[in-house]
C-alpha cells in the first residue's frame, strides 16, 4: 500500500468512523477508536457522545488523550461517575450503542481473546485480560473491532474467550441471554469482516487495491466472501486532513 496517499492506520480509522451514526453513545478506548470517534464527530456525526470506562461521559478532550483516564477527558466533560456506575447504569442498563473492542486474537465467530496465548494456568503469553471488554461485548448494542489483519490475530478458534462474539455460531450467543448484538464489523487494513446470519465473520468489504487472496492468506479459517462484497471508498482528502492536522498532528497513532 506504499503508493497510496494514506497509511494502514488512517485507512482503519476512516472506515471505523464511517460505521458510527449521529447520536450514537460510544464506549470508547484510547488510540484508534478515539480517533475514529473524533473523526465521526467532525464529519457526519456531530452529536456522537463519547463515554469512557473510567466514568467520563460526554468528553470533549482539548488534546489527544494518551490513556483511558487522561485528565483532559474530564475537564469540560458533561458528567463523571464511578466505575461501578459506568458499568451498571450506563452499559448494562442499555444506554450504550457502540463499544470498541480489541484483542490479540479474533476468531471465525468474532470471539475475542485478550487473556492468554496458550494454557490459562501456564500461559505462553500473559495478555492484559478483560478489563471492560467482557461486559462491553455482551451489553453494548453493537461492537466494532479495529485490528491489523494478520494470520496470528485471526485464528479459527481463540485460545480463551475473553469476550463473546457469536460463540459457536447460530443461536449460541442469543441463548446466553446477553443483551447486545455482538460484533457488527471488524475493520482491518485489508477490508471489513462482518457476521453472516450464522455469526461467522465473512468478508463484507475490501479496501481499494486489496485482492481477496491477500485477505485469505492473513486469515486463519477458510474465509467466505459476502455476496454483495463491496470495495470501500478511499479516505477522502477532508477525512485525512482532519485526522492529520486536527486530531493527531504528532502522528502518535497514525
Amino acid at each position: 500500500m506504499d503508493e497510496l496517499p494514506y497509511n494502514a492506520q488512517e485507512l482503519m480509522v476512516v472506515n471505523a468512523a464511517r460505521l458510527l451514526k449521529d447520536h450514537d453513545v460510544v464506549f470508547v478506548g484510547v488510540g484508534i477508536p478515539n480517533l475514529a470517534c473524533n473523526l465521526a464527530m467532525r464529519t457526519h456525526a456531530p452529536n456522537l457522545q463519547m463515554i469512557y470506562e473510567a466514568g467520563v461521559i460526554g468528553a470533549q478532550p482539548a488534546r489527544l488523550p494518551l490513556s483511558i483516564g487522561d485528565p483532559t477527558l474530564v475537564t469540560g466533560a458533561t458528567a463523571v461517575c464511578s466505575m461501578y456506575d459506568i458499568f451498571s447504569l450506563y452499559l448494562q442498563r442499555g444506554n450504550v450503542d457502540v463499544g470498541f473492542l480489541g484483542g490479540a486474537q479474533i476468531d471465525q465467530f468474532g470471539n475475542i481473546n485478550a487473556t492468554v496465548i496458550g494454557d490459562y494456568d501456564h500461559p505462553k503469553v500473559r495478555l492484559p485480560g478483560s478489563g471492560g471488554s467482557m461486559e462491553i461485548a455482551a451489553w453494548a448494542n453493537r461492537c466494532y473491532i479495529i485490528t491489523p489483519h494478520q494470520k496470528r490475530r485471526f485464528p479459527a478458534r481463540v485460545d480463551f474467550h475473553t469476550s463473546a462474539g457469536f460463540l459457536t455460531g447460530g443461536d449460541a450467543r442469543t441463548k446466553t441471554g446477553v443483551r447486545g448484538g455482538g460484533p457488527q464489523a471488524v475493520v482491518t487494513n485489508l477490508g471489513i469482516l462482518q457476521p453472516d446470519e450464522s455469526g461467522e465473520l465473512v468478508l463484507a468489504a475490501i479496501h481499494p487495491g486489496v485482492v481477496f487472496e491477500e485477505v485469505q492468506e492473513n486469515t486463519g479459517w477458510t474465509l467466505k466472501q459476502a455476496l454483495n462484497c463491496q470495495v470501500t471508498t478511499p479516505p477522502t482528502e477532508m477525512e485525512l486532513q482532519i485526522l492529520r492536522e486536527k486530531l493527531d498532528p504528532n502522528r502518535i497513532y497514525i
Binding site: 485528565p71 475537564t75 485480560g129 461486559e135 461485548a137 446466553t176
Partner: protein
Amino acid sequence: MSKITSLPEAIRQHVYTGDLVYASGFTHLIPFAAGHEIIRQGLKDLTLARATPDLIYDQMVAAGCARKLIFSYIGNPGVGSLHRIRAALESGQLEWEEYSHFGMISRLQAGASGLPFMPMNPSGAADLAERNPCYQQVTDPYSGRAVVVVPPLTPDIAIIHAQRADALGNAQIWGILGEQQLAAFASQRVILTVEEIVDETIIRADPNRTIIPGMVVDAVCHVPFCAHPSYTQGYYDRDNEFYLAWDKLSKTPQGAQEYLDAWVFGLPDRAAYWEKLGSETHRRLEAGEHFSQPVNYGAY
C-alpha cells in the same frame, strides 16, 4: 481528634505482612508514594488487589512485596504490558485471581455494602468464570435463569489518594472517581493521602463533594504529588513520559531494580522524590486552571 500522621508512620501502623491491600485509583489518583513506602519498609507476602494494577503494582511485584495479585486488567495504560507482573505470572512466581472490570468492582460493591454477593448479567464469555471459583451461580427466582454472582471483597487495608481532606479524614475528590469510595468502605482499615489538608469548613461548604467520610479513615497523610507518575485532577498532569520510560526500563528485572534503587530505596520520602524529578518535569506537569463555579447551598 486529628488523624494526621506521616506516611511512613501510617504504613507502619496499618499495613502488615500478608495483608490484602487495595491501593485504589483508576488511572487517576494512584497512590504511588504509598506503594514506594511499602517497598521501602520491606513488606512481604501481600495480596495486591486493583482493577488495574498499573505501574504501582508492577513496581511492588518487582520489589518482591507480593504473593498474589487480584485484578481485572494488567496493562500499562495507553502503552503496553506490565513487564514485571507479566514475567511473574508467566513464570508461576505470582499467584493470581482474575475478573472482568465489572466482576472486580462488583466484588468491591458487595464488600462496601455489607452484602453477601452481587449479581451480574450474563456475558456469554464463560472461560474466566470457569477458571475462578469465586464466580458462582444462583437461580434467579423471577426468571428461573442462572445468574452469575461474585462474593464481597473486603481488603485488610485500602490506600486512597484524594485532592483534599480535613484532619478527620473527610475527603473530597473530583475528576475520575474510579473505585475509590467502594475500596474505602469495603476495607477494614483506610490510609488516606491528600494533596492538601484543609479546614473542615472547606469540606462542609460543599458536602456533596465528600466521597469518603472520616468515620472509615484511620490515618490522614499530607503527601503532595503522591500520585506521580499518575495524576491529580487540577493539581498536576499524568507523566506520560514516565509511563513510556517504565515500559523500556522494566523489561528486565535489573532495569526495574535500578529504578527502585534510585527512586525508592535511595530516597527518604515523596518530597525528595519530587525534588529529584526536577523543575523541568514540574513545569511539564503543571495543570493549568479551569474552575468550577460555586453553588449556593442556602443558609437555613
